[in-house]
Amino acid sequence: MAEKKKNPKTLLKVLGFVKRYLFFIFLSMLLAAASVAGTLYIPIVIGEAIDFIVGEGQVNFAAITPLLIRAAVVAGATALCQWLMSVINNRVVFHVVRDIRNTAFDRIQELPLSFLDRNPVGDIVSRVIADADQFADGLLMGFTQLFTGVMTIAGTLVFMLSINPWITLVVVVLTPVSLFVAKFIAKRTYNMFKLQSETRGEQTAFIDEMIGNQKVVKAFGREDEAIEKFDEINLRLEKAYLSATFFSSLVNPSTRFVNSLVYAGVGLTGAIAAISGGLSVGALSCFLSYANQYTKPFNEISGVITELQNALACAGRVFELIEEPAQVSDEGNKVLGGTDGDVSLHDVCFSYVPEKKLIENFNLTVTPGQRVAIVGPTGCGKTTVINLLMRFYDVTSGKICVEGEDIRELTRESLRSSYGMVLQETWLRSGTIRDNITMGKPDATDEEVIAASKAAHAHSFIKRLPDGYNTVIGEDGGSLSQGQKQLLCIARIMLCLPPMLILDEATSSIDTRTEIKIQDAFAKLMKGRTSFIVAHRLSTIRDADIILVMKDGNIIEQGNHTELLNKGGFYANLYNSQFAV
């Protein structure tokens, strides 16, 4: 995904998702206001009560009791408000994130393959999962703490002013000092953190490379060299961690120090005011408790703001994904009725990047029932042809027709369901073996599933699995071997019997003896159906009706096996080299 400029509209987009829950947010704010008011009111009540406890024989019980009852009721109500507010905030945040995730996932289903091929899977996954999660955390923290924090500061100020403006002034002047201190330290430690995370990244990369390939390290006896290099990085990381952690951990004691100065200041001015009779002892104790409460949200808010900025940045990354243009809609296109496998390509040109032409003026006519094989060295564009046939990519110019219809005028669903596709890179989803086989035909009966598996020579190994067809396999096939995974993918196709077939190195990981047997099954299956086969092993394509020999994106030879051998060109060379010594 291209690095985009930070979008100031991210906040607006977030609000777009939040809009649905406006009522709840309003409710949450009301509750926050109520709970802050309650939290601030209780010290006043307690302070008043303390004022009635002057000394021996000077206690006014009649005044104290109602005050204490009032404090208890307020405390209960405040706690209830706090809890309800948290529950509502949870609800809003988790629902917003759920909605964003769903939207992002919907978009993934519609994004063009060109986008998905270009961007690493890990990157997109981290947007949908980690970024959305970070966003949720930040938003939740923002909701709960930012609003209550601001309310607390404002409320405290009002309450303090109403009691004694001079002491309030002491608090207001001294408190921001702790913010400055925190900011000052954060600025100084930024570079240390950067160094730490860079060194940590370097170490992780090194671990990844060495431990990930531990067998090679051992095979070449490079253990000592690896340890030496690791120790060197490790030592640097220790130093970087020490300075980053130590200096950043100064924030806490420093702000606490400032707070204690504020506390001492309030104590001093308050006591002097009390001596001169301008302040009661209860009011002083109330002030001291406020002095603590007033400084705390300042520290929290600075944290919350960084967190919120981070959350917005994360949201921005998710929105980038959501806003990627979708593939061209096929709404209103014709539905491909049935096909016998009549496919033709007219002057097809295609390239992944405009500067680098790949396929040029490609013409081909395939009549129903023909077997088309595509061969050539790695990277010559064999798989590209498949991408175009399935319309994973659209041609740059020219057209591809099925039953005489330009495939861009057909619905993707009807086009793709007329092909059965097996790729070299097998893909299985976590779930049971049966789920995986019945992917193209969810209502298949047990008999059909077993018959298809037998045809794919997968039945015998499935039978031996702990739960047979109901064995649950992990992500990407879990413990199955590459060959077994390919057999399952083949069984999947054998079950739904599409009119056309695409095999892209479909048997590359299956040993040649089994491969022959599967090919016989395919041969039976494909009688009268059109098939496209990409293969590395030339032995597997000898019987094809048309062999396309590709090199650097061009079709350099075309014909059947005998014709091409007699021609003595590239194919003949390629073919003969496998017997040379």
């Binding site: 949870n90 995730r101 051992k218």
Partner: protein, 582 residues
């Protein structure tokens, strides 16, 4: 945990003791604050002594400064201990993993090892840092506040003694209920992550089967259940603050009420009531800190256990002492009824392997997927040990060799062509640290890789990215072959390492390997064309030897070999092949 903590106590004992100690000193100062405030109220305000008030306020400020000093000292020691601890553990982990045998690596899996060295260790490190700083402080403040309350007034302090257990019950109760629920949320998140991943890696298949709508429904179901779990745990976790708030305030009300009675009776002063009130507030703050700390520590302990498991793994292989076998012994490699079984496997991976490889000969190993070809060649360098039977190199049992000496004789080209970040020269020198450019080029030439280097900017100084990402599969494979040849090994093992080469390059490679004299070559392959000219071919079928002999002999005698061969040369066996052999 003891083994892990040894890394802390052995090297950083001073820091480990001093960090919490200074934290405690800081806490003591904090506990003194309410007493000073009480003195201000009772003595200062009571007698209207402004000078006394100023003195006490200065004392409070002094407490702040000294407290800052204590805190900074504590932070320094704890950061130092945590930094050193992590370095020490990580070094130990890395060394331990270097000792792992292939079998142990297979069993553990490298990705878990990597997580343990990175994610787990970071968690433990921050756990150590936090623990040193806070674990002693918070309980100290809580109990300290209670003790201070006792020094003020015994009966009033009983309210503290009653409130603290109730508070602890709430804080820890909520924690213990939510921890398993949080784990469930993590699990839900993993499921959502897996589905997203699967949809990206399988996008072609999903679209080919037009499953997009089904997937959207499936995902939104999982997403919904994640949201439900999150809300559930959120509702319970949200109880902690309101409940502690209520309890503390009730305790304060009780405090004021009883305090009023005792002040009336002349047992207590007004200032003392304010001091008690302050102590109660301090307890609340510390308990919440403590709860967060304990969550962090529980996580750290779980991660620490995972790390410790790695450290506790015993090295499986015992080293021998011999550096050399019998020079001039006829057979470079001998398998004598050797069997191999992987840990926890039900059946042998290889059974009764028995054959010899003469010095300087070429041995082909062939068989289907999973027939045990790679396992067999990995036994030569003792990457796996035989369960039964023996493997000999130069007439000496591999178990009697010093492992390093044994492996220095062997050059391996693994199935997966792995190169490392660094220049081409650095990669080649993995084979031999002292190799000259001339020797490297010789090896590259043999491996059909010389022209690749010549075409690259900087030649041997060309940078290879991690994993060799900037090279094609075929290029990587040829480089890994060259790397093994730089070693000038006595035994060269090509483990299905020509699969990404086209037939012409494969043939040229085999021709150039023929020129290596005195090197015994093992070629593992699925293609008969790659091994048909070997001096000896071992045919494996499901872990057992199905036949041994030359290509022609096996075509006559070995059914499995014949089938493999025919599957690759169908309909050609009637003579054409001979023609093409030219």
């Amino acid at each position: 945990m003891r083994k892990l903590l040894k890394h802390l106590t052995d090297n950083y004992l001073k820091e480990t003791i001093l960090a919490p100690l200074f934290k405690m000193l800081e806490a003591i100062l904090e506990l003194l604050v309410p007493l000073v405030v009480a003195a201000i109220i009772d003595t200062g305000i009571g007698s209207g002594d402004t000078g006394y008030v100023v003195k006490m306020a200065l004392l409070l400020a002094a407490f702040g400064i000294v407290g800052l000093g204590f805190a900074v000292t504590a932070q320094y020691f704890s950061a130092k201990a945590a930094a050193g601890f992590a370095r020490s553990v990580n070094g130990a982990l890395f060394r331990k993993i270097q000792e792992f045998s292939y079998a142990q690596l297979d069993k553990t899996g490298t990705s878990t090892l990597i997580t343990r060295m990175t994610g787990d260790l970071n968690q433990v490190q921050s756990g150590v840092n936090l623990t040193l700083r806070l674990l002693l402080r918070s309980p100290f403040v809580v109990f300290g506040a209670m003790i201070m309350a006792f020094t003020i007034d015994f009966d009033m302090a009983l309210i503290f003694a009653g409130a603290i257990p109730v508070l602890a019950l709430v804080v820890f109760g909520v924690m213990f209920v939510t921890i398993p629920l949080y784990n469930k949320v993590r699990g839900g998140l993993d499921t959502v992550l897996r589905t997203t991943r699967e949809n990206l890696t399988g996008v072609r298949v999903i679209r080919a089967f037009h499953k997009e709508q089904d997937e959207i429904q499936y995902f939104s179901g999982e997403n919904q259940s994640l949201t439900r779990q999150q809300k559930k745990v959120g509702r319970i976790a949200a109880l902690m603050n309101p409940l502690t708030f209520v309890i503390i305030n009730l305790a304060i009300i009780l405090l004021i009420n009883n305090g009023a009675v005792r002040v009336e009776a002349g047992i207590l002063t007004q200032g003392a009531v304010v001091a008690l009130y302050n102590y109660m507030s301090q307890i609340l703050v510390e308990l919440i800190k403590l709860a967060n700390l304990i969550i962090n520590i529980t996580k750290s302990i779980a991660c620490g256990r995972r790390i410790e498991k790695v450290l506790e793994t015993e090295a499986m292989q015992k080293d021998g002492i011999e550096k050399n076998g019998f020079e001039g012994y006829l057979y470079a490699v001998e398998f004598r009824k050797a069997s191999l079984r992987y840990p926890d496997a039900a059946e042998n991976a290889l059974s009764d392997i028995d054959f010899t490889a003469e010095r300087g000969s070429t041995v082909g190993i062939i068989g289907g997927t999973g027939s045990g070809k790679s396992s067999l060649v990995n036994m030569i360098g003792r990457f796996y040990d035989a369960e039964e039977g023996e493997v000999f190199v130069d007439g000496l049992n591999v178990r009697d060799y010093e492992i390093e000496a044994l492996r220095s004789k062997i050059g391996i080209v693994p199935q997966k062509a792995v190169l490392f970040k660094g220049t081409i020269r650095e990669n080649m020198k993995w084979g031999n640290e002292n190799a000259t450019d001339e020797e490297i080029f010789k090896a590259l030439e043999l491996a059909q890789a010389k022209e690749i280097v010549e075409k690259k900017d900087g030649g041997l100084d060309h940078m290879i990215e991690q994993g060799g990402k900037n090279l094609s599969g075929g290029q990587r494979q040829r480089f890994t072959i060259a790397r093994a040849l730089v070693k000038k090994p006595e035994i060269l093992i090509l483990d299905d390492s020509a699969s990404a080469l086209d037939y012409a390059t494969d043939a040229a490679l085999r021709k150039s390997l023929k020129t290596l004299e005195n090197t015994t070559v093992f070629i593992v392959s699925q293609r008969t064309s790659s091994i048909q000219h070997a001096d000896k071919i071992v045919v494996l079928d499901d872990g057992e030897v199905a036949g041994i002999g030359t290509h022609d002999e096996l075509l006559q005698s070995c059914e499995v070999y014949k089938e493999i061969h025919n599957s690759q040369f169908k309909k050609e066996s009637d003579g054409k092949e001979g023609v093409n052999n030219g």
